[in-house]
């Protein structure tokens, strides 16, 4: 059984959803406190959404220096799987595990609504259960989700296929890119596809009773990482 460690920072608030989603998808999922120094043999680490340390200074800037992040860095460096959702994505960028940064939404408001996205890359720890490029409708809930990187980094991300999730333009019922992210980027990964960060929240839509189960294949991906040769452990 795949072991999924969900890191709890002070201010995390999507931790329970992430743990539950992973468990429901067949993983053994448990919490790790931000002061812990061990990931307890995790195969996959999830940095969940929320407002770690009150978003003081910049989102994710302080969480990056939590004791547990040393273990997360080491896990990632050894090829281990790390997934950041929303605030977790911000932390991954601040920790330089992913390139670029997430800035204040162009509209300045907190955006909380379902958005349509395209799963662009399907050989990552978080998307391999999608067999091909697939449109999904999942919620975003963030004030700072505008992905920014220098031109060279953006070109590399596009050239190497490191854009995992992209906001779909002009889809009925949504307005496309909710924050004016560069290249409509909603999520990216490292070259190997073992470290993935996305702004939308698939862990919130894993049950049709909640209105949609479009997030299920993301959770099944992380819960079944071992099934995919070459990605993760």
């Amino acid at each position: 059984m795949v072991r999924v460690a969900v890191v709890r920072f002070p201010g995390s608030n999507c931790d329970e959803d992430a743990r539950r989603g992973a468990e429901q998808s067949g993983a053994e999922a448990y919490f790790v406190w931000h002061r812990d120094t061990s990931l307890q043999g995790a195969d996959v680490v999830v940095l969940p959404g929320g407002f770690s340390y009150g978003d003081y200074l910049r989102s994710g800037a302080i969480a990056r220096f939590s004791p547990v992040m040393q273990a997360v860095q080491a896990h990632a460096a050894a090829g281990g799987s790390v997934i950041g959702i929303c605030n977790g994505f911000q932390i991954l960028c601040e920790a330089h595990l992913l390139p670029g940064a997430l800035m204040r939404n162009a509209g300045l408001t907190f955006v909380s609504k379902p958005v349509d996205c395209m799963v662009e890359r399907t050989d990552t720890v978080f998307t391999w259960a999608f067999e091909r490029k697939t449109p999904v409708r999942i919620p975003v809930a963030h004030g700072e989700g505008r992905y920014v990187a220098d031109a060279e980094t953006l070109a590399r991300l596009e050239g190497e296929g490191q854009v995992v999730l992209r906001y779909l333009k002009s889809s009925p019922g949504t307005e496309g890119n909710p924050n004016m992210s560069s290249n409509d980027i909603a999520g990216i990964c490292n070259a190997a596809g073992t470290v993935v960060g996305i702004m939308p929240h698939p862990e919130r839509v894993v049950d049709p009773k909640l209105g949609s189960a479009d997030g299920l294949l993301f959770m099944r991906s992380l819960a079944g990482v071992r099934a995919l040769a070459g990605v993760g452990k």
Binding site: L57, R58, A61, I62, F65, C93, E94, P99, G100, A101, M103, R104, N105, A106, G107, L108, R146, V148, A149, D150, M180
Partner: protein, 83 residues
Amino acid sequence: MTYRVHVRVMPRAGLLDPQGQAVEHALSALGFAETRTVHVGRAVEIEVDAKSRDEAEARARLMCDRLLANPVTEDYQVEVEAD
């Protein structure tokens, strides 16, 4: 010796600064028609113990590089108050 260090962190020129734009519009609406551009950043004041002003400045720059500014999106200036 204790030095007071003023750090100014600003969004990098050329990047969209929606906060600056919003303040700019508000100033115009208030009748400050002379307003051309506004940028909103962050000020951090730090008291540090150091052997010299140069050392205080060097340490503050390291603090900026490691935590206070995001090298992808922000630039910073460091000023050490006179002894």
